[in-house]
């Protein structure tokens, strides 16, 4: 496997950057992820960070060197991240849990599969054309698709999401793929700060015209320019698929993964996990009774 990858994250006009991104890989598989902590709830950046950590830890645990079942891994990793966020909130007696979106792609055996929850997107571009992109779990996008038709004012609720990680209701997520990659394919993961300022045509154009080391900074810059001083965090991670060869990374930039709330990640059901499950259930009972 050979690919080049480039990632950029910018704070924009916000006080803090609640976006997170990163990737890791083994000889036979790679995972790329991007999370966008949500405003309106506390500590969005924590939810974004935890999700990244949980998914990375599970990937390192399970990809030896490949994952047994990619789709299964993606769903269980996202579920585990969601639970970890809820645990974080419960342990700190937070009234409201931090929340985040997530988009993550796994490449293995020349195939790419991805999962997303919320409005962080994945774009797959082949030979200058947009092959596919994820559909946001937002009312706006679902109205366009003619699916659900909640009666909400278009202006105020364009970006309102109906699912995310860390919410009290179970997150909804979609797994897509696997799609066989061809040489020259481009994959982009980005937060809404990027796509809300640019059209799909713009994004496709930039991605297909130049190497990712140029297109990613260009895309982020134009998104920041369009949004002006009040810009949201803008984050993008793109990779170009090169000849299936050895798993070599030809280009990287530093990841924005930061420390601070590192927690051991729980995968197995040990004594501590049993106690946490019980505490979680009792917390849910208290909430249900309070309703």
């Amino acid at each position: 496997m050979k690919f080049s990858v480039f990632q950029v994250s910018r704070k924009g006009g916000r006080e803090i950057n609640e976006d997170r991104m990163g990737y890791c890989y083994t000889r036979g598989a790679g995972i790329f992820f991007l999370t966008d902590g949500m405003g309106g709830h506390p500590q969005g950046e924590v939810a974004a960070q935890l999700t990244l950590q949980v998914m990375a830890a599970m990937f390192q645990e399970e990809a030896r060197p490949v994952l047994a079942d990619v789709a299964l891994f993606l769903t269980s990793a996202v579920t585990a991240a969601h639970r970890q966020i809820l645990r974080y909130a419960i342990e700190r007696n937070m009234l409201d849990a931090p929340r985040t979106t997530v988009v993550a792609a796994v490449i293995q055996d020349g195939l790419v599969s991805w999962i997303h929850c919320g409005d962080s997107r994945l774009y797959l571009v082949r030979q200058g054309e947009l092959l596919t992109r994820t559909r946001d779990h937002s009312f706006a996008e679902h109205r366009q698709l003619g699916a659900g038709k909640p009666n909400l004012s278009e202006r105020n609720n364009r970006h309102l999401l109906f699912t995310c990680l860390g919410s009290p209701s179970r997150p909804m997520y979609e797994v897509s793929g696997p799609v066989a990659l061809q040489q020259g394919d481009r994959l982009l993961l980005c937060s809404d700060g990027l796509w809300s300022g640019l059209s799909d045509i713009d994004i496709t154009y930039h991605l297909s015209q130049k190497p990712v080391s140029q297109s990613v900074p260009d895309l982020v810059e134009s998104a920041l320019c369009r949004a002006g001083g009040s810009s949201d965090n803008v984050t993008a991670l793109a990779l170009e698929w090169e000849t299936p060869d050895n798993f070599l990374v030809s280009r990287t930039s530093t990841s924005t993964v930061q420390g601070g709330w590192n927690q051991p990640v729980q995968v197995e059901l040990d004594d501590a996990a049993i106690d946490r499950s019980i505490e979680e259930i009792n917390a849910t009972i208290r909430r249900s009774v309070g309703r």
Partner: protein
Amino acid sequence: MAKVKPAPLPPDTMIGGYRVLRKVAAGGFGVVYLAVDSTGQQVAIKEYLPASLTTRVPGALAPEVPPEKLSLYRLGLKSFFEEGRALAQISHPSVVTVMNFFRENETVYMVMNYLEGASLQDFIVTARDLKQAKVFRESTIRSLFDEILRGLRIVHQHKMLHLDIKPANIFITDDNKSVLIDFGAAREVLSKDPNFVRPMYTPGFAAPEMYRRDAAMGPWTDIYAIGACIYACMQGYPPNEAPQRLEKDRITIALRRLRGVYSDNLIEVVEWCMSLDPLSRPQSVFALQKELSREGERHYTKLSAVEKVRLQFDTMVTDNKKNGQKAAVVSGRDK
């Protein structure tokens, strides 16, 4: 060699601040006790004690788990937690309430509100022994399932499936409320857990997709079971098992017998719910509720004389098959 079941906790044992009064039920997962809390309020406590994985000598508190079964035991614990999680989210009069969850005696306990009454199963058996044309009145059936469907709708809204709906798991309390109990088989709809185990099923009430490994389960799976429960309330007996139906489906004939006794609409609803093809069933509880709560005059289509004769032949054939006698004589008519 037959395995000795783990012994239940003796009366007056204190667990988690509750005093055990007696064992009220037992299943593969463990034991349910009637207990009282410090204020004297009665509760039902479900103890995680899988009979196949644990042993407990009478009088002991902690179950013993052989080391080679420990991982399976922990796996089962996950399902027990799933049941707790499922129920903890839901607060609805038609769904059993979980009040507390605690760890003691090296196992786990779920405290639920204690219901006084009897299961729908008990009521069906009592009613059918009266040998009347109707097992239950149609209005009784409609209002009973209206309540149950309200609860089931909330369950589905939480993205959970019950997966073991049957008259024995529908409880009628002494103050005439119907409550959905035993979520031991309940699953997250979206669960792709690597440890996802297909739940146990109850023949007659389990939809055909429950027998297959690859089939998608959804609200329609619970809806099949609801249809089968209504069927049992009309006939007094559970319907044929799904695999049997796939071979030769006698549901339509069985329901025809009820024409004139129950309204055409109710009979059609049951047939709709019990379609073998999941896509032909009501796809949501709401769709079913709408049909079941439809007001208006009930239409009854009486059987014609010819149909009655045909049904009689049918009964003969079935009876003969059961007895294994004279089958050859009438088999020609059994088309």
